[in-house]
């Protein structure tokens, strides 16, 4: 009985969202769409009034699971996740007609939210996995062949990370006896595995490819939703368990810097945004790596703002994709004439991501930068500065410029549908609101904030950076040296894994290639033989009932009897 009572009293909003997602599959489309927007908002109000503490524990496999832990860390993430899913569902009203998509997005967002409020590693793992599985449907819902295979690759990476996470948790709990989702540290037994699993979900360099591969292949609204949850959940998990781990500073710096090059040459504007997503995550990872109160505050507030402006940008590109059928920079241009509102919102998003004063990015990113310089990491500080300039370059200028201005392609699509405009409008005003009234966000942060964003030096510093970056873009455009937007499928980072290795080291290239070929042919031949054997052996199982096999079985029985007898007698 108590179980049922408890289940009703359980307040983890994520579980409600998952249930809502399941129900919305059965309800009439109109009702379910309303529910999808209303439910997160209701839960948001509910969460706002929830006290801190562990609100629900359950005994499972002898472990005490904490299913709903509200504290300084989980509170802010819960709030932004609920806002994000409500806005995204509003956006999705006119973006999709499929049944599976709204329900998958609710389950996905719900499990991400539930994972945020998880107080132990087992709950975290379970919801991480549900999130991984439900999110792939947002990619598959696009219905193209490309999206199908991209979805599969995505699923393999996510499940692989899940397996690593589970093994890490197993080792960690069996060594420490605790399943608490708290400070773990990279040196703890199993700590490295958990770290890697979070890292994959967080798109660390060399593990990042699933992101640029899959997100742009999702549906119009699917990309918006995907961009908000998985990676931010990983940031949250890192902040909880690995705050202050030094290596994160360097990983983060690398993450912030290298996607810029790819973003500059990429043609698909949604993929550009995916690269810039990676770059923004880099800032947060640096913040986690520094691990001071201000750095964590910066990370959390940056995650908060980032979810808003990144979904805003994805929404704008989604609207473009919906109306024109393409998001390739080379096919777009001049859209501002017929899509003025979308253009305006896109510029707000671009200003926010670039960190223009008065927009949300400015008040959060500068916190991370200040904490970096306070910690004396000057090298990292410079890298991040370069990355900031790069962000402005590719997200702040390239996206709006190529989509809405540039050379007019003569496209005159209709303005985005009304629900989309409303969703974009709300998000854009939130970006602006936070930018001019940062105290609202600062009051949600885990640690007391002693930081004023709008000092003269901060503003001037930032403006200088932005102006020079804009100048660089302008110069490159005027002299036509800017890498042209070509209609090509762009070189991606996984290319580096496969071929870049021996084009870089051409001197050793031939011998490496030879060895690799040899190894490859040997392994592939071995695999072929193995498969042939398996096939030969097992395909015959398909035949009907045979009497001859009984004889074989009896031989086996006798052999085993004999071996057991020998074993028994030899003792």
């Amino acid at each position: 009985m108590t179980v049922i009572d408890n289940l009703i009293l359980i307040l983890n909003p994520g579980i409600f969202l998952i249930l809502g997602g399941l129900i919305s599959n059965i309800l009439p489309l109109k009702i379910s769409k309303t529910l999808n927007i209303a439910l997160p908002l209701l839960l948001l109000v509910n969460l706002w009034n929830t006290d801190q503490g562990n609100h629900f524990s359950a005994l499972f496999l002898g472990y005490n699971l904490e299913l709903f832990r509200v504290d300084d860390f989980s509170y802010i993430f819960g709030i932004i996740f609920l806002i994000a899913i409500a806005v995204a569902n509003l956006y999705a009203i006119s973006a999709t007609t499929s049944r599976i998509e709204p329900s998958a997005s609710m389950i996905y967002a719900g499990s991400a939210t539930a994972a945020v409020f998880a107080g132990d590693l087992i709950t975290l793992f379970i919801f991480f996995e549900i999130a991984a599985i439900s999110s792939v449907f947002l990619i598959w819902a696009r219905g193209t062949k490309r999206s199908f295979s991209a979805g599969f690759r995505y699923l393999i990476v996510q499940i692989g990370a899940g397996v690593i996470l589970l093994s890490g948790i197993l080792i960690y709990t069996s060594a420490s006896g605790s399943i608490g989702f708290n400070e773990i540290g990279i040196d703890a037994p199993g700590g490295l595995l958990i770290f890697i699993a979070f890292g994959i979900k967080c798109a660390f360099p060399f593990f990042h490819n699933w992101l640029q591969d899959a997100y742009p292949e999702a549906t119009v609204s699917g990309t918006v939703i995907l961009s908000s949850f998985t990676t931010k959940l990983a940031i949250y998990a890192l902040a909880r368990s690995y705050a202050g781990t030094d290596i994160l500073i360097w990983i983060g710096a690398l993450m912030a810097a290298f996607p810029i090059f790819y973003a500059v040459i990429e043609n698909d504007l949604r993929r550009v945004l995916a690269y810039s997503l990676n770059n923004q995550l880099g800032f947060m990872v640096v913040g986690v790596g520094i691990g001071t109160e201000m750095a964590l505050n910066g990370t959390f507030s940056h995650a908060f703002c980032h979810i808003l402006y990144k979904s805003l940008l994805f929404m704008c590109m989604g609207a473009v994709l919906l109306r024109t059928g393409t998001a390739n920079g080379s096919d777009l241009g001049g859209l501002f004439k017929s899509m003025p509102w979308t253009t305006g919102f896109c510029i707000v998003g671009a200003a926010s991501i670039s960190g223009f004063p008065l927009f949300s990015g400015f008040i959060s990113k500068s916190m991370i930068l200040t904490s970096v310089s306070d910690g004396g990491h000057w090298g990292v500080w410079l890298v991040l500065l370069f990355a900031s300039a790069g962000v402005f370059h590719h997200s702040g200028i390239k996206i709006p410029y190529f989509a809405f201005f540039a050379h007019d392609q003569g496209l005159r699509p209709k303005e985005a549908p009304m629900p989309m405009l409303i969703a974009m409008g709300i998000t854009a005003s939130l970006c602006f609101f936070i930018g001019i009234y940062p105290d609202f966000l600062y009051s949600l942060l885990p640690f007391p904030v002693d930081y004023a964003p709008y000092t003269t030096s901060h503003v001037i510093n930032q403006l200088q950076l932005l102006m020079f970056s804009a100048l660089a873009f302008a110069v490159l455009m005027v002299f036509k040296i800017y890498p042209p937007e070509l209609r090509s499928t762009n070189i991606d980072f996984d290319w580096i894994y496969r071929k870049g290795l021996y084009t870089l080291i051409t001197s050793l290239g031939k011998s490496i290639k030879y060895t690799e070929d040899l190894l490859f042919s040997v392994t592939s031949k071995g695999l072929k033989i193995l498969m042939a054997f398996v096939h030969l052996r097992f395909a015959s199982l398909n035949r009907s009932a045979q009497t001859s096999i009984v004889g074989n079985a009896l031989v086996w029985v006798l052999a085993l009897l004999l071996s057991l007898l020998v074993l028994a007698y030899s003792m």
Binding site: V3, L59, F60, L61, G62, F125, I126, E129, V163, S167, L170, S174, V534, H535, F538, A539, L541, N542, S544, A545, Q546, T547, I549, V550, N552, A553, L554, W556, V557, L560, L561, S563, L564, L565, L567, A568, Y569, M571
Partner: protein, 500 residues
């Protein structure tokens, strides 16, 4: 009142045994429905009895019931501890849920004039399985084992109406089953020759002083191999796939969920209680014979399942793999491993019961089940397929299902022994399960229905309700794990403990 309850241990076996001949009497009125109803009543009676017994054992400890008030070891003793009370619950529980499901499918699959005989034989089979589990007498085990086996040969052969290959399947099972039973009884003969007793408790007492006796060693080898054959441990599993495939749906459900489980129980009883660790070579047998066979079973069964096109056969091969997991738990021979084994006996009964029930629903509508004939059925029979997919998730071992619980304990047990290299094998085994489940999902949801098949309707509620009850159990016991884990843990402690 209390007097009557005192006799429950014998009634749970005697009532099904006596009701079998009574059931034949329904032939005179040719009243098939009455025969079904009679079987239903008996099954539910047995189920209630087993609940009572389990409760009683949990509260008051071991029950020892003396038949005809003859004192053991001379008289026959029914001895119920936590382990066999749990297995009794599994057997009678599956029967209690399968029979309500059975009426329609039996009506469809068995010739009308044979249906009453079918229920009679079914009751005998139930008697045999319950008897094997409850008795504390080694020879009694053999007798009941033969009752259950002989009746199951007949029951499998009754699948002949849908596919004549049921006959060869039953014949193969008959040969191998008889070999197994004979080995078992030869082994018992050796033990009896040396000890002069057949009572299990007494036997185990006397054997502690006979650890060096060669006749006992021979008896040990015969008994273990005989039982392994009944368990269908790889490579002695060949009778299993065809039997499960061509048997009538009801029998597939019942046998897949209970028959091998009962044999595993007897194997556990003999390995750990009769012989126990006074024999040095038991750990050796477990590590060097059972463990490799269990691992091979997992891979052979799973890969074999992937290659099947017949759906029932596919799940039969998956059963071979699942038996591998149980035997691996036994081979670990630590408390957690045995807990996993006992848990998986229960959990696998729930999983395979649900899966074969879903298969029964499909047979009811489609007839022959192959990956071709079920194409597109996901839309036409949504409830059945939803149940099948959920049960499949449990088979794979997704968290919140029972399958996850057993695998979790199995992994913990492996870690306790420090056998790290085996862990990836378990994970790969689960992935193979994903592959063969995906084959079915793909066929049912992603392919168009074949042209030559008429559209089909969802099965009636009479079939759906038992199916969903079992699926619900898969999730209920996957979340609410206290009871099952408590029982399994205590059972494992009993098995490994020195106390009787």
């Amino acid at each position: 009142m209390t007097n009557w309850l005192h006799h429950i241990p014998i009634l749970i076996v005697a009532v099904p045994l006596i009701s079998a001949p009574i059931c034949i009497l329904f032939t005179f009125g040719a009243n098939r429905k009455a025969a079904w109803f009679w079987t239903l009543l008996v099954s539910w009676f047995a189920f209630l009895c087993s609940i009572y017994l389990l409760n009683h054992v949990l509260e008051n400890g071991i029950i020892s019931y003396h038949l005809g008030s003859w004192e053991p070891p001379l008289g026959i003793e029914y001895r119920i501890d936590l382990i066999n009370a749990f297995v009794l619950l599994i057997v009678s529980g599956i029967s209690a849920i399968a029979i309500p499901f059975g009426r329609l499918v039996v009506d469809k699959e068995i010739e009308p004039d044979r249906q009453i005989l079918f229920y009679t034989t079914y009751l005998l089979c139930l008697t045999g399985l319950l008897g094997v589990t409850i008795t504390g007498d080694a020879f009694n085990i053999f007798v009941f084992l033969e009752i259950s086996s002989l009746s199951s040969y007949v029951l499998i052969a009754m699948g002949v109406r849908s596919d004549r290959r049921a006959l060869t399947a039953a014949y193969n099972y008959l040969i191998l089953g008889t070999v197994g039973a004979t080995f078992f009884v030869i082994g018992l003969g050796f033990l009896y020759m040396v000890t002069g007793t057949l009572n299990i408790m007494d036997l185990s007492d006397r054997l502690t002083h006979l650890a060096d006796n060669k006749a006992v060693h021979a008896g040990y080898a015969f008994i273990i191999i005989g039982l392994a054959l009944k368990v269908a441990l790889f490579p002695m599993h060949v009778w299993l796939p065809n039997s499960y495939t061509y048997a009538p749906s009801l029998i597939s459900i019942f046998l897949a969920a209970t028959a091998t489980k009962v044999s595993i129980y007897v194997l556990l009883r003999f390995l750990f209680k009769v012989f126990g660790f006074s024999f040095d070579f038991i750990p050796l047998t477990l590590t060097f014979i059972f463990l490799p066979l269990a691992i091979t079973a997992i891979f052979f069964g799973s890969v074999g399942a992937i290659y099947q096109t017949n759906i029932k056969r596919l799940f039969a091969y998956s059963s071979v793999a699942q038996i591998g997991y149980i035997v691996m738990g036994i081979a670990l021979s630590n408390t957690i491993g045995l807990t996993a084994a006992v848990l998986h006996i229960f959990n696998h009964a729930l999983i395979k019961g649900a899966i074969f029930m879903a298969a029964g629903c499909l047979v009811f509508r489609v007839g022959k089940l192959t990956t071709y004939t079920i194409r597109g059925l996901g839309k036409e029979m949504p409830w059945t397929f939803a149940a099948l997919v959920l049960a499949g998730l449990s088979l794979i071992g997704i968290p919140t299902t029972v399958g996850f619980i057993s695998k979790w304990y199995l992994l913990l047990g492996i870690m306790e022994n420090g056998w790290w290299p085996i862990i990836p094998l378990i994970v790969i085994g689960s992935l193979l399960a994903v592959v063969y489940m995906w084959k079915i999902i793909e066929a049912a949801y992603f392919f168009q229905a074949p042209q030559d098949r008429a559209p089909v309707k969802e099965v009636p509620l009479e079939l759906l309700i038992p199916l969903w009850v079992l699926v619900g159990c898969n999730f209920y016991f996957g979340i609410q794990t206290e009871i099952t884990i408590r029982i399994a843990k205590e059972a494992a402690t009993i098995l490994l403990g020195n106390s009787p």
